[in-house]
Symmetry: C2
Subunit: 93 residues, 2 copies
C-alpha cells in the first residue's frame, strides 16, 4: 500500500481552509473516538461523495487516520499532526 500522506505546511493549511473539513475535524475532536465516515456524514449532513472527497484530503494532509474494515471506513483525528500544527482551535473566535 503506497503512502499518500503529505506533510507539507501548505497541504495542511489547504486541508484546514474549508468549512466542511473544519466541521469534520470539530466532530472528530468532540467525539474523541474512531467513527465511520457514514456516521460523520449523517451527523453533519454531508453527502457520501462529498464526504469521500473531504476525508481523502484530510488523510492526505495527515490530519486523520483511517482504517478500512470490511464495508466501513473508520476515521479518527491524527492528534500527532493536529496538535503539532493546530493550536487554539475554535471554529469561531
Amino acid at each position: 500500500m503506497m503512502n499518500t500522506q503529505n506533510t507539507n505546511q501548505i497541504t495542511i493549511f489547504k486541508a484546514l481552509a474549508d468549512s466542511v473539513r473544519l466541521d469534520i475535524i470539530e466532530y472528530l475532536k468532540h467525539v474523541d473516538r474512531e467513527v465511520t465516515c457514514g456516521e460523520v456524514g449523517k451527523a453533519l449532513n454531508i453527502s457520501k461523495t462529498s464526504g469521500s472527497y473531504h476525508f481523502k484530503l484530510l488523510q492526505e494532509a495527515g490530519l486523520i487516520i483511517t482504517r478500512k474494515e470490511a464495508r466501513e471506513k473508520y476515521v479518527r483525528l491524527n492528534s500527532v499532526t493536529f496538535d503539532k500544527f493546530v493550536t487554539n482551535f475554535y471554529k469561531n473566535i
Copy 2:
C-alpha cells in the same frame, strides 16, 4: 477607519492556504522588521496587483500589521495572531 480584520479560524487558514502568501509570511518572518510591499514584491517576484491582493487577505486575517506612510505601505508580521495559531512553521517539512 473601519476595522477589516476578521479573526476567524477559517479566515486564518484560508489566508495560509496559498503559496504566495506563505512566501510573504516566510519573508516577513525572516527579515523580522517592517518592510514595504514593494520590497517584498520585488524579492519574491510578485506583481504589484497580485501583491496588493495578497497583502489585503493577510491583513484581513490579522496575520500582518500594515501602516501607510505617504506613498508607501509598510508591512510586518503580526506575531500575536501568527504565534497564537501557527506553530512549527516551516514551508517544507
